[in-house]
Symmetry: C2
Subunit: 441 residues, 2 copies
């Protein structure tokens, strides 16, 4: 008889993991607190669209879903920077054809649930709120819609129940569990730029739009229906100063004049939509023996500024799957190797994501930064094997996040060195480059 | 009618705070989970003795208790380092007469409870476990010994219920509460060197004894009854290798030969006594409006290596009292100023305490370190107004902990500079010193 595995949390990570495990023949019970999103239009209390990139695509490809999802996605080939004077500056993300992809969270989750439902060895349980986990007995207790409780027994448990995971809560009160939750000083509010006539995009479609304003910023991602989902990131105390239609209008007129003209329902949306917070969660250990493992946001919630939250969670799934491939039915080894492979890298992407807030909100409008980006881009073109940017390593590769973090620091020293020497024109000279690589390594 | 204040936690910090508030005329209800320690010999699950120093003494002095407590304390004027070859090295902590004081946690807590019980406006409630706090309604719920629940209403609540505070738990689930719990890789076990005949001390009485062994260490503090409380700090995985009398005996013979000879009940104690963990807790915010404030370990649990846990908690009390003095009945201002004054400093002592583990376990046996300590000592003697060591600022002053942390870093650069120049003989030359102070500032 094959192992029975309980997965707690039917979001993107948990549902994808259920499919990977079902393909290996395990008997899966997937429990989700909310109703079945295929039948009910519900908000997950999370962002509407996501940026799917290389790591996430690899995970979808292994279950044959990548092409279908990409067909409905909108590729964003670069950043479009909007200044206060309505000037536009475009920065490509990578080489020709490299893009991050705007996808709908709801559609992707729905599609994964449909796929999971097609497996005989996956049982889906909705409206089931986890109230307790007994790690040693490998039981989980769920409160059902009618208020009754159900205790569920299995061989092991995967906690994929998000940043405020009930499963993690059970580990947290045990001895020697390291845990931190750290809130950014900025909150966010979702707003909208609707489509024009005939579902026309009101700004260039294939870009991630940014209005960097130093202490705050707005971004916009395109949706297939022609509208853009805007997200305003701003310190909570600045949000608190905008309480009336007039205050909101004055603020947008001054800070985001071009966007304001395309936002007919802005003031109403602004006052109605919630201001949400952004948390980074780190913890350790993620696993106990062969009994339980945390995955996705439950193990490592990050802020959204590198567009890697979902991609990192999907990479958890592919790494867990590789560990199963390598260690067969030795779940103590599988869990322990999964944790060892992922923990340093999810710590790294957590830090990169916070760094990227400051890059997006502030530096992308800075002359020196733009000069460095151009130089970085040219080096990547000239030496594709030798030089890779932090952004490319993070977004367009499956290299470990920690490597991307470290390489980014090394790149920065190199770029500053070349600029300080005024040697931008020498970068085509391989002998010069080899000398400075030698010096800086 | 004066304000009614609920204090949750009748340990050292909560009981001391109740006395300060009672003296200002507030009506205090102090709730403690455990039975009355004056009637029952109970272990708090914490260390047996503590090192009382300047900050703690100031707090006791303000309620007239310092002399009485000091009369029963044993002053420790320095560290006595025990090598593997039974060689002893003595390092004074400060100038002549400066000492940290070994006091019994149980006796100090009992004495504070006795004093509190003498106030008509302090009501003590034992066996009352806090199960819920409603911050906005200013109510706290307690489970009593007979299993019944009691809801208690007051004007405001102080949470002094320790590192695993129930009060903090209520703040933690609210939005935007930063929190971290971080465990040290070493655990600890308490052991004993009993008194000799006629309550004779078997080692020099007026010192804190240290057996530094790099990856682990043992310390011993004297008790008035002639015995020493030893604490062995060691990585958990090393503890796990010592499971039999023979293994413990072999280990102590090799690592702590002189101590082993004075520990007749060692092997039994070792296998019987628990191995406990060491946690650092940081969180923010500590206060909400005029409704609740966290104090002591509930706000900032630290590891014990600087001997400042109790001293820092007592300083919370004197700072809170100064804020009341300055802001009268404006509790929003009192709590907010208390938090602003304390948070950076308790973060600093948390970091200093972790640093000091490595100093005690490893560096105190190191030649270069001892050379620096001598130089530091001499500079302190030569320039008492201009040069103060980090240890002296932390232990023998009421300067902010953050200043001690920063000054320590500056001192270190100075000491390394003098040693690198081979200029130890020049430190009596004021002109030389003024030149390097100028250079390094």
């Amino acid at each position: 008889m094959s192992d029975k595995i309980t997965i707690i949390g039917g979001g993107l990570c948990g549902t994808l993991m259920s499919i990977y495990l079902a393909k290996r023949g395990y008997e899966i019970n997937l429990f989700e607190r909310r109703p079945d999103m295929r039948k009910n239009k519900i908000s997950a209390g999370k962002s509407i669209n996501l940026a799917l990139s290389t790591r996430g695509l690899l995970a979808l490809k292994k279950i044959g879903l990548d092409k279908e999802i990409l067909a409905d996605a909108i590729p964003m080939f670069g950043r479009m920077i909007h200044s206060k004077n309505n000037e536009l500056t475009y920065q490509p993300y990578g080489k020709d054809g490299q893009a991050i992809n705007s996808v709908s969270r709801g559609r992707l989750n729905t599609r994964l649930l449909e796929l999971a439902d097609g497996f005989k060895n996956i049982n889906l349980h909705f409206n089931s709120r986890c109230t307790d986990v007994d790690v040693d007995k490998s039981t989980a207790t769920f409160e059902l819609e009618d208020g009754t409780s159900q205790i569920f027994q299995s061989d092991r448990i995967l906690g994929t129940d998000g940043a405020f995971a009930a499963t993690r809560g059970k580990l947290q009160i045990s001895d020697r569990f390291n845990y931190s939750q750290s809130y950014l000083h900025v909150g966010y509010k979702e707003l909208e730029i609707p489509a024009g006539e005939g579902a026309q995009f009101m700004m260039s479609k294939n870009a991630l739009h940014i209005w960097p304003r130093g202490a705050f910023m707005m971004i916009a991602l395109p949706n297939p229906s022609g509208d853009f989902t805007c997200t305003l990131f701003m310190p909570f105390d600045v949000f608190d100063t905008l309480k009336t239609n007039a205050e909101v209008g004055t603020f947008f007129t001054k800070e985001f004049p071009d966007a304001f003209q395309m936002m007919p329902t802005l003031t109403g949306d602004f006052l109605k939509n919630p201001t949400s917070s952004l948390v980074t969660v780190k913890c350790f250990p993620w696993v106990k023996d062969d009994k339980i493992a945390l995955m996705g946001d439950a193990a490592h919630a990050i802020v959204p500024f590198y567009g890697q939250g979902m991609n990192a969670s999907f990479e958890d799934v592919t790494v867990m799957d590789e560990c199963i491939e390598n260690f067969g039915s030795d779940w103590t080894k599988i869990f322990s190797k999964y944790q060892a492979l992922r923990k340093p890298n999810t710590d790294a992407i957590a830090d990169l994501a916070i760094q990227n807030y400051y890059e997006m909100a502030d530096k992308v409008g800075d002359k020196h930064f733009l000069h460095k980006k151009t130089l970085e881009h040219n080096l990547g073109d000239l030496y594709p094997d030798k030089f890779k940017s932090q952004y490319a390593l993070t977004t367009f590769s499956n290299s470990p996040y920690l490597f991307a973090l470290d390489q980014g620091k090394r790149n920065d020293i190199l770029l500053e060195h070349i600029i300080a020497e005024g040697a931008e024109h020498k970068i085509t000279d391989l002998a010069y480059m080899e000398k400075i690589w030698y010096l800086l390594d």
